[in-house]
């Protein structure tokens, strides 16, 4: 961010967000903002509450308390589809593609013109050139053109993840949430993913990236938040957060002392 620039209105504002499950406070008073144009990384050991946080922001879980604001608008109490329509799109840690639909169809579902008006969508039979073109562009962006007519369930792992990103981008969201997109990838695939996320950043207002892979976090994030036990432990520039002793302890402690 250029020094002296006026602070722009945040894309996402999370205030004191908490989620209680029976006896466990999975997310505890988390607050942060995401500014336009930035990629915010979220790191933390397993069980820190990162995915729960994403689920709260995207509307998959209702929050116990706290607030989420997207472009100034309060998302509390909105249904999943309303949050999706307001401009949040996401990928999933355990890949949730529409397996029995083709790659092209998966991306076509995101077309907001039809998703928002399903009945009117019926009458578009036959004349779908424009949306197919648009979907193909997203597919091309993620390098999946060769697989366009292949069933999503048959895709190899790396490409399945890319399809999820393409599908999320095709809703033309303001905010893109990526939940451990590099999980299970090798080095080569991770490098491709970095390129893909950079391409994606240009199409949306901001990106939130949950990751375990530090190389990805360092390569992509403008800022980083570290979580543990449902709380934010540290926040700031990637180098600073990763060097933070608390953060180190949380990670080293998890992997076992050398």
């Amino acid at each position: 961010m250029p020094a002296g620039a006026e602070p722009a209105a945040p894309v996402l504002e999370v205030s004191e967000l908490s989620k209680q499950f029976d006896g466990l406070r999975a997310v505890d008073g988390v607050s942060f903002t995401v500014l336009p144009g930035e990629i915010l990384g979220i790191i933390g050991p397993n069980g820190a509450g990162k995915t729960v946080l994403i689920n709260l922001v995207s509307g998959f879980y209702p929050a116990t308390s706290g607030r989420v604001r997207l472009l100034g608008e309060d998302l509390s109490g909105l249904a999943l589809h309303q949050i999706g329509r307001r401009g949040i799109a996401r990928t999933f840690q355990n890949i949730r593609l529409f397996k029995r639909m083709t790659v092209l169809e998966n991306v076509l579902v995101s077309d907001q013109r039809h998703a928002r008006r399903p009945i009117r969508a019926f009458f578009a039979f036959g004349r779908q050139r424009a949306e197919i073109e648009k979907a193909r562009r997203f597919i091309e962006l993620m390098g999946l053109t060769a697989r366009a007519n292949q069933l999503a369930g048959t895709l190899p792992y790396g490409e399945a993840r890319r399809l999820e990103i393409a599908r999320a981008l095709a809703t033309e969201p303001a905010l893109l949430l990526l939940d451990e997109p590099a999980a299970g990838m090798n080095e080569e695939e991770t490098a491709e993913l970095i390129a893909d996320v950079r391409k994606a950043r240009k199409l949306v207002m901001a990106v939130v990236l949950i990751e375990h892979d530090m190389s990805l976090i360092q390569a992509l994030s403008d800022r980083v938040i570290a979580m543990d036990y449902g709380k934010v432990m540290a926040e700031g520039l990637p180098a600073a957060v990763l060097a933070d002793p608390e953060v180190q302890r949380a990670y080293l402690g998890e992997e076992g002392d050398p």
């Binding site: 995207s58 509307g59 998959f60 249904a79 999943l80 589809h81 949050i83 999706g84 329509r85 949040i88 799109a89 996401r90 999933f92 949730r96 529409f98 397996k99 029995r100 639909m101 083709t102 092209l104 169809e105 076509l108 579902v109 995101s110 077309d111 907001q112 039809h114 998703a115 928002r116 399903p118 009945i119 969508a121 019926f122 009458f123 578009a124 039979f125 036959g126 779908q128 050139r129 949306e131 197919i132 193909r136 053109t145 060769a146 366009a148 007519n149 599908r167 809703t171």
Partner: protein, 276 residues
């Protein structure tokens, strides 16, 4: 082959399609017996008691069926899976019992005097519904339904209003079942509540399972085979439920997708030359 059997086949085709359209959104409905009954009785009461012409009563009956579906469906579609199936089963029982107990609808004795439905009407209905389903399969709405069926929460996160879509499918299914019921009643002249009991709902679901759930031809095939085949093979006629049951069991073991398991990809159409 008697006209009767052709007629029943046609009615079963419509009923199978009505289950199919609800199945497209991922819900299995055993309520077709109920909506068929509502359609039949609504149209029947209009034509026999109020002198409404047959061709006007049928669409009205369809609308009434659809309306009932939306009213019951709205709270019910919030629950999922087996629970929703049970509610549809309950609905079928409730409708039948209600019809048996209210003299306005003729009670156990049934409703008489309906007439006016011919094979032409039925044929027209089948063509119309079939055409609509075909157009559906080529439209973006098909993809939306598929997405809802595959993973409804993810579909919702993409901006799709699940309740709206599921209710639409449920209502459409009820309207088609109501259409089938109205035609059925006005052909048979006389119906009783136990013409619409839970076995009807079960059989129709099984037609769809047998024929295949992936496209509109499957239910058509399942209904046609199971209604017409016994006409040709005497032995089948007497042992229909057993043969049917065994066919389902064997089919599910060997080919769970049904007899017709090819998929009609909705994006696959003449403009799309993409690599295959």
């Amino acid at each position: 082959m008697t006209v009767d059997y052709l007629f029943f086949t046609g009615v079963n085709i419509l009923l199978a399609w009505s289950v199919y359209i609800v199945l497209l959104t991922g819900n299995l409905s055993f309520a077709q017996g109920a909506f068929m009954a509502i359609g039949c009785y609504a149209a029947g009461i209009m034509t026999t008691r109020y002198g409404v012409p047959f061709l006007a009563a049928v669409p009205a009956a369809m609308a009434i069926s659809a309306a009932m579906a939306v009213v019951f469906g709205y709270p019910a579609l919030r629950i999922r899976g087996i629970y929703l199936i049970l509610v549809t089963v309950g609905l079928t029982f409730c409708v039948r019992i209600a019809l048996e107990n209210f003299s306005y609808t003729g009670g156990v004795g049934g409703l008489k005097g309906m007439s006016g439905a011919t094979l032409w009407h039925l044929g027209g209905a089948i063509l119309a519904v079939g055409a609509l389903l075909y157009l559906l399969s080529r439209s973006p709405l098909q993809r939306i339904l598929d997405a809802v069926r595959e993973d409804d929460r993810v579909a919702a996160s993409l901006g799709i209003n699940l309740t709206y879509v599921k209710l639409f499918a449920f209502g459409a299914g009820a309207a088609i079942a109501g259409l089938a019921g109205a035609l059925y009643g006005h052909y048979l002249i006389f119906v009783r509540p136990d013409n619409f009991d839970i076995l009807v709902s079960i059989f129709v679901v099984l037609y769809v399972i047998l024929g295949g759930v992936n496209n509109l031809w499957g239910p058509l095939l399942g209904a046609t085979v199971m209604t017409l085949l016994p006409e040709f093979i005497r032995a089948l006629q007497e042992w229909r439920p057993t043969v049917f049951g065994l066919a389902i069991i064997v089919m599910l073991l060997l080919r769970p997708e049904g007899l017709l398991s090819f998929r009609l990809t909705s994006a696959r159409w003449s403009g799309d030359a993409g690599g295959r």
